[in-house]
C-alpha cells in the first residue's frame, strides 16, 4: 500500500477516525499496531509474521541485556546475528546465489534450486536499523528498554515509517508512544503543507522525470552527454521521490499526534561530502555516524593508530556500509566507497565537516564542484551495472548524432523545468514567512498541478527497494 493510492486513503480514514475516537492511549497504541501490521502485510502477509517474530526476539534480547548484565554482550551479539542475518539473507541472497551456483556447478554439484529469487520485504532495511539502534543503545546503557511489548512493537512497526523511514530513534519515538495524545488542530495545520508538497513532488516531479531517466538508463549505449543529463534527472527524481515519501510519512505521523524527524535539508546545496550527508537522508546518516563511524574512530584513537588511518578508515568503512545498505550490487558499493574517498580527500585538503567558505566566490566554487560530484556519483548509483557504465564512458561518444543531441536537450529541459518548483520553494522558504500569502499561492498552484498530473497507478516510491 503506498501513500498516494486510493487503498491507502480508505485505510487512513478508517484508522484515523477510530484512533481519535479511542481517546485512551492504550487503545490508540493497540489500534496503531494492528493498523501497522495490516499496512505491512497488505502485499505479502508472510513478511508481517517475520516482522512480528523478529520484533519479539529483539524485545526479549533487550530485556535480557538489562536483566543479565554478565550476558549482555551475548544478547547483543544474538540480536546482531538475527537482524543482520535476516537483512543479509533477504537483501543479498540474490546477489550471491548466482556466483554460488556457478561455483558449485564447477565442482560438479547441480544447485539450480538455489537460483530461486528472494523478494526483499519492503522496509526491512529501515526497521532493522531501528531495532539495532535500540539494542545497541540499551547495551550501552544509553536507553532504558521498555517493558511494554506493545510499545516496542509499535516503535518498530509504526506504519508511517515502516516502509522507508525516517529511521527515528527510540529516544525520540518511544516517549511519544508512551505519552497521552489528544487531538489538536495544530496537528492538521502542520501536516497539510507536507501533504501538498509530498503529493506534488511525487506525482508531478518524480513520476514524470522518472520516465525519461528510466529510458536513458536502459539504453545499450547512450552518449556521455545523455548519461550526464539523465544523471541530473535522476538526482532530481530521487530527491523529489524520497523527500515526498518523507513529507507524507511525517504528515501522517503528525495527524496521529507524533513528531518525527526530517530527512532532507536542501542536500544539493552542500559544499562538501560531509555537508551533503548532513543534509541527505539525515536519519540514516546520523545512524551510520553514531553506530559505525564514531565507534570505529574511537577504536582507532584508542589503539593509537597513525593519524592518516584514523582519518581515512572510519569514513571509508561507514560509506561502504552505506552503499551496501542501499542495495546488493557493485554499483551501490562503489557509490558508497566513492563518497568515502571524497570525504577522506576533502578532509585531507582541510575541507572537513566544520569547513566554511571564506567568501561567496569560494562558496560558489565549492558548491559547483560538490554538485558535480553528486550528479556523477548518482550516475554510478543508477547505472544498471558497472560494466555498462565503463562501456559508456570508455567507448561512448560525447554528444553523438543529432538524434542523441535532441534527446539530451529534451532531458535537460525537462530536468530544469521540473526542478524549478523546488528551487522556487527553497528560495521562498529562505526569504518569506511560512504563513505568507505567497506560500499559499504556491501550494494552490502545486495542488492544481498535482490534480492535472495525478495518475491512479503511481509507481512505488524509489526507497522502498532499499
Amino acid at each position: 500500500m503506498i501513500f498516494t493510492s486510493y487503498d491507502f486513503l480508505i485505510f487512513f480514514v478508517v484508522v484515523f477516525s477510530l484512533y481519535w475516537l479511542a481517546r485512551r492511549r492504550q487503545w490508540q497504541n493497540i489500534l496503531l499496531l494492528v493498523a501497522s501490521y495490516i499496512f505491512y502485510a497488505w502485499v505479502h502477509p508472510w513478511y508481517a509474521l517475520m516482522l512480528g517474530l523478529s520484533t519479539l526476539a529483539d524485545y526479549g534480547l533487550a530485556l535480557g541485556v538489562v536483566r543479565n548484565q554478565s550476558r549482555a554482550r551475548l544478547f547483543l551479539t544474538l540480536s546482531l546475528i538475527l537482524n543482520l542475518g535476516l537483512l543479509g539473507f533477504f537483501k543479498y541472497y540474490n546477489f550471491f546465489s548466482e556466483g554460488l551456483v556457478a561455483a558449485l556447478t564447477d565442482i560438479g554439484i547441480q544447485a539450480d534450486a538455489l537460483l530461486v529469487r528472494i523478494l526483499l520485504p519492503a522496509g526491512l532495511s529501515f526497521f532493522t536499523l531501528k531495532k539495532l539502534g535500540y539494542l545497541i543503545d540499551v547495551s550501552r546503557g544509553d536507553l532504558e528498554p521498555t517493558r511494554s511489548l506493545l510499545d516496542f512493537s509499535l516503535f518498530v512497526a509504526f506504519f508511517p515509517q515502516i516502509n522507508a523511514g525516517p529511521i527515528d530513534r527510540a529516544q525520540k519515538l518511544l516517549p511519544q508512544i508512551q505519552s497521552d495524545r489528544v487531538w489538536k488542530a495544530e496537528n492538521f495545520y502542520s501536516a497539510w503543507p507536507l501533504i501538498v508538497m509530498g503529493f506534488f513532488k511525487k506525482v508531478v516531479i518524480a513520476d514524470t522525470i522518472r520516465v525519461v531517466v528510466d529510458r536513458v538508463f536502459s539504453l545499450k549505449e547512450p552518449t556521455i552527454a545523455l548519461l550526464l543529463a539523465a544523471s541530473l534527472g535522476f538526482a532530481l527524481q530521487i530527491l523529489a521521490d524520497f523527500s515526498a515519501y518523507t513529507d507524507l510519512a511525517r504528515a501522517i505521523a503528525r495527524l496521529f499526534g507524533f513528531d518525527t524527524s526530517e530527512n532532507f535539508r536542501s542536500p544539493y546545496l552542500a559544499l562538501t561530502p560531509t555537508d551533503f550527508w548532513n543534509r541527505w537522508h539525515i536519519t540514516l546518516s546520523t545512524w551510520l555516524r553514531d553506530y559505525i563511524f564514531f565507534p570505529l574512530r574511537r577504536a582507532f584513537l584508542r589503539a593509537h593508530t597513525p593519524r592518516w588511518l584514523t582519518d581515512s578508515i572510519p569514513p571509508l568503512v561507514t560509506m561502504f556500509v552505506s552503499g551496501l545498505w542501499h542495495g546488493a550490487g557493485w554499483t551501490f558499493v562503489v557509490w558508497g566507497l566513492a563518497y568515502g574517498v571524497l570525504i577522506v580527500l576533502y578532509q585531507a585538503i582541510g575541507m572537513g565537516g566544520a569547513w566554511k567558505p571564506a567568501h561567496k566566490l569560494s562558496g560558489f566554487a565549492a558548491w559547483l564542484v560538490m554538485f558535480a560530484f553528486i550528479v556523477i556519483t548518482f550516475a554510478i548509483f543508477r547505472a544498471p551495472t558497472l560494466e555498462w557504465l565503463f562501456t559508456v564512458l570508455a567507448s561512448g561518444s560525447i554528444f553523438g548524432s543529432l538524434d542523441f543531441q535532441a534527446v539530451t536537450v529534451v532531458t535537460l529541459s525537462m530536468t530544469a523545468f521540473y526542478a524549478a518548483p523546488l528551487v522556487v520553494k527553497m528560495l521562498m522558504d529562505r526569504t518569506l514567512r511560512a504563513d505568507s500569502f505567497w506560500h499559499d499561492l504556491y501550494y494552490v498552484t502545486a495542488t492544481v498541478a498535482m490534480l492535472a498530473y495525478l495518475n491512479s497507478s503511481s509507481p512505488d516510491f524509489i526507497y522502498f527497494q532499499f
Binding site: 486510493y6 486513503l9 537460483l115 530461486v116 529469487r117 488542530a185 492538521f188 495545520y189 497539510w192 514524470t208 528510466d214 529510458r215 538508463f217 536502459s218 539504453l219 545499450k220 549505449e221 544498471p384 551495472t385 555498462w388 543529432l402 538524434d403 542523441f404 543531441q405 535532441a406 534527446v407 536537450v409 529534451v410 535537460l412 529541459s413 525537462m414 523545468f417 511560512a434 504563513d435 500569502f437 506560500h439 499559499d440 499561492l441 501550494y443 494552490v444 495542488t447 492544481v448 498541478a449 490534480l451 492535472a452 498530473y453 495525478l454 495518475n455 491512479s456 497507478s457 509507481p459
Partner: protein, 339 residues
Amino acid sequence: MKAFLRYFSLLILSLALLSAWIVAGGRADFPASAAPTFDAGIDMTHRDGIDARQPRIVLLGDSMVEENVDLAALSRALGQDVYRIGYPGSSSAMWYLSIKNNILQAAHRPKAVVILFRDSVPTTPTYRVGGKFNAMLDTLAGADEETLLQRAFLASMNPLEKTARQFLPAYRLGYQARDSVEFLHRVAFPRLLLHCNRRCVDAAFLDIFNFRTIAPPAANDPVAQEEAVLYSHRALDFSAQVRDSFLPEIIRLCRENGIQLILIRGKTISFADLPEPRGLDAYIFDLQDYLTKNGASFADLEADARLGTGDFIDRFHVQPEARGTYTQMLAEALIPLLP
C-alpha cells in the same frame, strides 16, 4: 489556521475559475462522463487491407507479431494466405476493437483469427489503455464503445477518480496540460539549440528508444515494473478476471461470424533467469480450458526449447536470424488447429 483557510479558499476559487474557463471554452462537458471519449472516426486501413488481400487467416497482436514472424514464410508453411495486424504495445482492448471495427467490417471473412499473446494480457482489460495507448485506441474506437469504456476504464476506477473525472475538468483534462508541457520540451529547446523541429525530435526518440537499442537485462527493469500488473494475484486469477475482460466478447464476435479463434501464447524469455510468477501456470491452464469449452483453440510456444536467450533481443523480440525458427514454431502450432 489562517494560512490553511486562505489556501483552501484560493484553491476552491482557482478550481472554479479553471473549470469555468475549460467548460466555457467548450474544452469539456460539465458534468462529464467519467470514461474517456473517443471521436467517431475509425482507421479502416486493415479492413481495406483484408478486402484487398482476401486472406484465410488474420494474425493479430502486438510488436511480437511484427518483429518475430516472417509473414511470407508463415503463409508458405501453412499453405494459406496470412494477413498481419500488429500494433506495437497493444493489448486486449486494441485487439477487441481491431476484430470488431476492422476485421468484421471487411466484406471478406477470414476463416481464422490468430491472436499471439503473452502472460495474462487476454484477461487484463485495463492493461495499456491509458496515456499514449488511449490515443492508439482512439484510432480504432468509434464514438459509442460501451463495452470498451466499461471494461477498460470504468470498471477499474475508484469512486474518487470517477467523481474527479466528472466534476473536475482540470483533473479530466490533466493529460492535455501534461502534453502541453511535454510539447514545450520537445519543441522549444531542441528547435532553439539544434534547429530540430518537432518531427525531428519525434524521429530522434523513435530512433534512440526502441527495443533494439535497449540493453538486456537492465532495460527490462522498467519494462518489468510496468508488467508487474500482469502477474499480480488478481490478474492471474483467471476465473475472477475473465468475465469482465474482452475475451468473452472476442470469442462471441468470432463465433457469431463463423471465424475460428486461436490464441497462441508466444515464446518469450521473461522467465529465463527468474522463476515464473506463482499462478501463471494455473492461469494458462484455466485459459486453455475456457477457450476449449467456448469453441476456441489454444497453443503454447512458451516451453518450446528451440529458441533460447541468445536468440532474443529483449524479453519478447527475437533476433532477425531467429525469426525463421519462431515462424516455424508458430506454423507447427497452427497447422493442427486451423479449419
